[in-house]
Symmetry: D2
Subunit: 434 residues, 4 copies
C-alpha cells in the first residue's frame, strides 16, 4: 500500500503542492516518504523514514522546481533514483509484482546486480533497458505479472502509467497551468485541483509544462478495480473511478440496514473506518447516529508501529467508549471489515460490556474475508483471517456480540455502482480473475 | 490549560496507569509533559517538551513506583521539584494566579530569588513556607487570587487540592487497591477506574497507599464551575461535576434545533469539537447527520505549533470537505464556539462554497464570546474576539453564512443541569462573580 | 572542576569571544556548558549537555550582546538564572563549598526551597539576600567555607570574585574596548586579549562597558594556590598567577632529570599530560625526546564518559605505542601524576612490554598522591589512591616498571617559583592549612 | 582517501576487532563509515555519516559474526551491498578510477542503470559480471585505469586485492585463529595482531575461517608506492611496505637538519603532522625539541567540516602557541608539506609574530608540491598549490618566515629506504610513470 503523487506546472514552483499532495495520501502508507523534483539542473530526491509532515517539515529547502513526484509508503523508501542511457530519472510506484523472484534471477544471469530486493528496483531496471521511457514501460509491462500505478520523473517530463487491469486507482487533476496525477482525488480537494478523469487502465501518460498527453494505451479485455478502496482503503473525500467513496459507504450502510434491521437505541461506528457506513445505516434505519466510541487524537501516529503487538496495544489505547451514551442501551456498531476479529472481540466488545451496554449488533460493510490479496493490498495469510473457517454464527459467538451481519457481494456491486465482473473480489471469493 | 493526574496504589507499580492517565489528558495541553514518582528512595521526575506518548515512549525506565503525579500542559514544564523543610516534593497544577506579580515582589523583598516567572514556582514557594503541606496549601490559598487544582507528591503521600470556587475540574477514581485523582474522568475509562466523586471545591485530600482522606475543606459561599469544560474543553468521554460532557453537548445541539429550526439536507460538524452538538441537533431536528468535513488524521500533532500563523495554516490543512456530500445541498454545520471567526470565514465557508454548497447554516453551542478569561482558560484579548463589537447579523455577514445562531445562557444552564449562578459565565457576560 | 569566562565590550557584540573563550576552557570540564548574554532586554541563557563546540555550533543565534558569561563543567549545568530584588541575573562559578549541607538546612528553616542540591544554587540564593551584588557576595563569602571563583551577569554589569585564599585561578585580559575575565589565560591567546593581571585573592570586580573596577578586596592572611594547576590541570598555553604552566612543567622535568638520572635511549611522554615534563627531562638529561606513545585523535571526546569503566576502556583505546621506536630500547616515560596506577600498570606498561621495550623508567612530576582534595579538584577517596599505603619501591613493583621516581615538594616550589607556604599541597601532605 | 579493514576468524566473533580496526583508520577519512559482517545468514551492513566511534558506539548490536569488512571515508558511504549471480556481497575500496566516465557510458549502453556516480558502484558492477569473484576482480582490473585496494565480503569468504602498481598500502596481520587485512598496520598494534606481510602489488587474496590464500597475482613490471603515506598520510604507528612511518619521518627531519642547519633556540612542530619530522631535526641538530604550538583537543572532530572555509576556521581555532616558549626566541618549526601555504602564512606565522618570536625557520619534509594527484590522494588543482609558480625564496617571502627549506627527492628515497623509481613522485614532478 502506498500513495503516489506527481505534479507539473507551466511556470510555477510546485513544491507546496507536491508536499501537500503527497501528505494527503499519508493514509495509504505511514512508514516512509519521499519527494523528488526537477528544476533544470540535476534531479533532486529526498526520502525519510516517518510521516510526510513530520520529516519534511524542516526539510523542503532546495527542492523547489516546476515538476516533481512524491511517495508515501508502508514498506520501502521511494522514489529511487537511477542513471541510465535515457539519463537520470526518479521513479516510484504502488503495486505488487507476483513474479518478482523469476525476474531478478533472469536479470542476474544477464550480469545485473541489485541493491535491494524491492519491486521498484526491478521495475526501474526493466524500464531502463528500453529505448525510451514509453517503450521501457511497455516492455516492463509485458514481463511482469501484477498490479502497478507508477510515475517517473525525468529531466523535463513526467510519465505516469496504470496497469491494464486498473487494480490501483490513479486520477488526473488540473488547475490553472498545472497538472497533477495522484492515487486519490482527496489530494486535490484542498489544493484546488479539479478532477479531469481517472487514468485509464493500461494508459501511459506524458506530462510536460503543465500539459498532459496520452502516449499509449496497453490493451486489455478485463478491468479489475480493487473493491477495498471504496470499503476501507481510500479517503472519504476521494472519488475513485467515478464513484465517491463516502457515497459508496453510505450505500453500504443503507444496504445493511435493509438486510439486517434491528431494534436499537443508537447507531455508532468504529472510528474512523466505520463512520461512513454507520451514517448510511442510521439514515436508512432512522435510528439516531451517536457517539459510541471516540478516537483519542493523541494515540500514536507520531512514530511508527510495525509489529502486530504494537498495533494491538495502540488499538486498545486509541478508542474510548462514551459511558453516558451506552449504559443500558442497545447499540448498533458499524465497521468496514473484520480481519482477525481480535480488535472487535478483545477491545470493542470488552469496553462496551464493561460500560454496561444492553445489546451489541455489529454490522460489517463487506462479506467475510476469506483469502489474502495477491496484489499487495494486505499481506495476511489465510490462517489469520478469522472468517476463513467459521460461519457467521460461529463468528458472532466468538466475538461475543448479540448480532452480527455482513454485506454481500451484490451489495458491493450495487453500492459502488459497477458490475461485479469489473470488481476484484478475490479477498472474499479466493478466486482470481486474472 | 493543563491536565493533572495522580495515582497511589497499596502494593502495585502505578507507572503504566500514571503514564496512560496523563496521556488521556493530552487534549488539555500539548507542549510540555512530565511525570514524577516515588518508590521509597528519592522522588524521581522527568519532564519533556512534546507529547506524552512521543516523548515518554522510550523513557519510562526507572520511574517505577507505588505513587506518582503527571502533567500535560500548553505553557510550562511541570511538575517541578523542590527541596524544603518538609523534605523534597514535586508539584503541578492547573490554574491561573491573578495577583502573581504582587506575590513575586513580596517574596523577593523577603530575600527569595526565582528560577522562573511561572505560577507554579510561586505556589510551591508559598506552600514550602508552611509548617506542613496542609497548612502550606491553606496559607497559599489565603494569599493567592485565582483558580487552581493542584497535586503534590511528597516522600510517601500525595496531596490534592481544588480551589474553593471549583473553577477547575478534579475527580476521584478508584480500582482495586488504587486511588487516582485527575482533571477529567476520561482518564479513568480505559484504565478501569470507577468514578468515586468529584473533589469538592476547597477540599484538600491526602492519599497514601491507595487510601483517600479529606484533611481539610476551605469554606466558600460560592461555586463557579467553568462552563467551557462542557461546551469545548473536556473530552466527550468525561463526566464533570456530575454531568457527562457528551450529554451536555447533545442537549446544547437539541436546544439549538428547537430555537433555530432550519430546512436543510444534512447536519454536519466542525470536527471534532462540534460533533456532539451536531448529533444533538440532528436527533432533535430529524435532519440526517452526515460527514461534511473530515479531519485528516496526519495533520500536525507530531510537533508543536505555538504561533497563531502556524495554527491557522494547520487549521486549513486539517479539514477536508466531502465534495459528494455537499454539492448542491443545504447544510447545517455545528461548532462549539466562534473566537476570532477566521477559521469559519476563511477556511470552512471558503471550502464549502468552492464545493458548491447551496446554503450554510452555522449553529454555535454557546453565546457570542465577549471577554477574555481571567482564570487562564484562554488568553485572548477582547479585541481578538470577533463577537466583541458585532451583532449576530453582522457576524453572519462577516463570516459569509446563510444562517448563524448561538445558544443562550439559559441553554447552557439547562443543558448542563446546573443553576446559572453556579456556572462561571464571564466569557459571555464580561462580569466576574468572584 | 570547571572553566568560567566573562567578557564585556564598550560597543561590539562579544558573542564570538564568549563562545571561543569558553571553548578554550573545555579541558576544565566536558559534560555541560552554558552561555548567558545581555543585550539591553532580558538576560538570555542557554545551557547544554555536551561539549561547547558540538552543542553550541548551531545554537548561537539570538545570543548576541555586549556582555556575557560562559561555563564549561564536569558536573552541572551553569550558569543558572534567578530573579531577585536586584533584578534578574545569571551566575556561574568554579569551586567547592565544604559546609553546603549546613547552609541548605539553615535556608530551609527560613522558608526557602531548593530546585537542586548544587553549590551554585546556594551561592546564588545567599547573594540574592544582599542589598546589592557586592554586599551579597561579601555576605556569601562570610558564610561559606570553601573555594570559589565566580562571575555574575546582571542587567548591565558583570561581577567577578575570587575567594580570599586564591585557590582557583582567575585572570583578567583586555583588548581594544573589551575586558575579559577567565579561569585561564589560554582563552586569551588566540582571541587577541593581552594579560592585564590575575584577579587578586578576595577581590570583587565590577565590569561595565569594557571597563574594569575593583569594588572590594576581602582581606586574608594566607593565600593557597592550587599547585595542581601547574602540574596537570591548566592548559600549557596558560600563565597562572604569574608562572607560565609550560615553563613550570619543563622545570619539573628538569628537576626529575637531576634527581633521578638514568641511562636511556629516549625520553617519551604519556600524552598529552606528560609532554611538558618529558621535554624538560630530555633537555636537562640530553637524552633525545621521542614518540613513545601517540594519542589517537579520534578516541572519544565526541561524547561523555562518566563512569570509571568507560574511562578505563577509553584510556586503552586512546594511546598507540610506536613499535619501531621502542623495540629493544631503554625508555624514560614521563607523566604528571599517578592516581590509581591502573592506566600505567594495565595499559602503558603492557603495551610497552608487548612491543619488546628493554627498560621502562617512569618519571612522575609530583609527589605520591595521598589525600583527596577538599576543594573539589578531584573527588577520589584515599582508598583509590594507589600511593596511599605503598612505598615507592612497592609502587614500582606493582606497576611493573624498571625505575620509578617522583618529584618532591621542594621541586614543586622551585619549579613554580612560589614559596611552599603559598601553595596548597594537601593532596600530597593530607594537611589543610585553611 | 579511505581506510579499509577486513577480518576473518576461525571461531570467534570478530565484531570488536572489526569496529576497532576500522576506527584506527579514521585518520584516512572522517565523513562516512560502514561495517558489514556475515554470520551464516544474510550479510549485514550498516553505514553512517560521521565518525566510527561516534556513530557506531550504540549501534553494533546484531552485527556479530566471524567475518566482516569495514570502511572509513572522506567522500562516500561504503561498503555497498549488491546481490548478483554469485549471491549477495558487500564491497569497499580505497582508490581512484581515472576512466570512470567511459566505463559508466559503456555499461549504460548495455542496459545498466546506476544508483550513484561513485567508483565503487562501477567496480562492483564490473566484478558482478565475472563468473566468480576472482575472475570478476581480474576482469575489472583489466578495464579500469587507476589505483585500488579493495575488499569483498561474500557469504563465507573475504577477498582482498591490491592494484598491480601497489599505489595504495594494504597489509596482512594475524593473531591466534584470525587474519586481518588493513590499509595500515596501526590497526593491528592495540588489537594484538602481528604483521605477516604487505599484500603484494597485483595480489588477490581469499580469506576463509581465519586462513589466508593467494589465489592470483596480476603481473606488473612497475611498482609505484605512494610516497605521501610516509610523509603525511599514514599513522606514525604504522609500517608501510616494510618501512616504519615514524622512522621515515625522523630520517626526513634529520636530512633537513643536515641540509639546512640553522642557529635556533628550539625546534617545534606543526602538530600533529610535523612532530615526527621535528623530532628528527632536533635529534640531528642537537637543538632542543620543545612545544611551540599545541593542538587544542576539543577543536572540531565531533562534526564534519567539508568546505575549505570551515577547514580554515578550524585550523585557526585548533593551534594555540605557547607564549612563554617563543617570546624572544629563534624557532625552527617543522611540517610535512605546504599545500596552499595559507595556514602557515595566515595562522602559524601570525600567531608566532604576535607572541614576539625572534626568528622563524620553517622546515618542510618534502619538495614543493607542483601537481595534483591523479590517484585520488588529494583533489587540489595546480592553481591551488602555492609552490606551483613560486621559487623557494618567493615562497619564504610570501609566507613571511626568516628561513624556509624543503626536503629533496633523494631525501625521500633515502629516508624511506626505497629506490626512487619505486616511489610515485608525481605530486612533486608532475610526471606520471604509469
Amino acid at each position: 500500500m502506498c500513495g503516489i503523487f506527481a505534479v507539473s506546472a507551466a511556470k510555477d514552483n510546485i513544491l507546496d503542492d507536491l508536499f501537500l499532495g503527497t501528505f494527503y495520501l499519508q493514509h495509504r502508507g505511514q512508514q516512509y516518504c519521499g519527494l523528488s523534483t526537477y528544476a533544470g539542473d540535476g534531479i533532486k530526491i529526498r526520502t525519510h523514514r516517518g510521516l510526510v509532515r513530520a520529516t519534511f517539515s524542516d526539510d523542503l529547502t532546495g527542492l523547489e522546481g516546476r515538476m516533481g513526484i512524491g511517495h508515501a509508503a508502508l514498506k520501502d523508501r521511494q522514489p529511487i533514483k537511477l542513471d541510465s542511457k535515457m539519463g537520470e530519472f526518479t521513479i516510484c510506484f504502488e503495486g505488487n509484482i507476483i513474479n518478482l523472484a523469476e525476474l531478478i534471477d533472469e536479470l542476474k544471469k544477464q550480469g545485473h546486480s541489485f541493491y535491494t530486493d524491492s519491486d521498484i528496483e526491478v521495475i526501474a531496471k526493466l524500464i531502463a533497458q528500453g529505448d525510451d521511457f514509453v517503450s521501457g514501460i511497455e516492455s516492463m509491462a509485458g514481463k511482469i505479472r501484477g498490479a502497478y500505478a507508477l510515475i517517473i520523473l525525468s529531466r523535463g517530463k513526467i510519465y505516469a502509467a496504470r496497469d491494464k487491469f486498473g487494480f490501483r486507482p490513479m486520477i488526473i487533476g488540473k488547475k490553472d497551468g498545472a497538472i497533477a496525477v495522484a492515487s486519490e482525488s482527496c489530494s486535490f480537494v484542498n489544493l484546488g485541483y479539479e478532477i479531469v478523469r481517472d487514468v485509464r487502465p493500461g494508459e501511459i501518460l506524458e506530462v510536460e509544462d503543465g500539459e498532459l498527453k496520452t502516449v499509449k494505451v496497453l490493451p486489455s479485455d478485463l478491468v479489475q478495480y480493487c473493491t477495498f478502496e471504496w470499503v476501507y482503503t481510500a479517503n472519504v473525500a476521494s472519488t475513485i473511478d467515478g464513484m465517491p467513496v463516502d457515497i459508496a459507504r453510505r450505500n453500504l450502510g443503507a444496504c445493511l440496514a435493509r438486510r439486517y434491521p434491528v431494534k436499537a437505541d443508537i447507531v455508532g461506528a468504529v472510528p474512523n473506518s466505520g463512520i461512513g457506513h454507520a451514517i448510511g445505516y442510521a439514515q436508512e434505519s432512522k435510528i439516531p447516529f451517536d457517539n459510541v466510541f471516540i478516537k483519542y487524537d493523541y494515540a500514536s501516529r507520531s512514530y511508527t508501529q510495525p509489529t502486530q503487538a504494537e498495533r494491538d496495544r495502540e488499538a486498545k489505547i486509541k478508542l474510548i467508549p462514551i459511558p453516558a451514551k451506552i449504559e443500558g442501551r442497545k447499540v448498533v456498531i458499524c465497521d468496514d471489515s473484520i480481519v482477525r476479529g481480535t480488535q472487535m472481540k478483545n477491545d470493542l466488545v470488552v469496553k462496551l460490556r464493561k460500560n454496561k451496554v444492553k445489546e451489541i449488533h455489529a454490522m460489517i460493510a463487506c462479506p467475510p474475508l476469506r483469502a489474502p490479496c495477491l496484489y499487495g493490498v494486505a499481506t495476511r495469510s489465510k490462517k489469520e483471517l478469522v472468517a476463513h473457517e467459521k460461519t457467521v454464527e460461529q463468528l458472532r459467538e466468538y466475538i461475543g456480540v448479540d448480532g452480527l451481519a455482513y454485506a454481500e457481494l451484490e451489495d458491493l456491486s450495487r453500492s459502488i455502482g459497477k458490475p461485479l465482473e469489473q470488481l476484484c473480489t478475490s479477498c472474499w471469493t479466493d478466486a482470481y480473475k486474472v
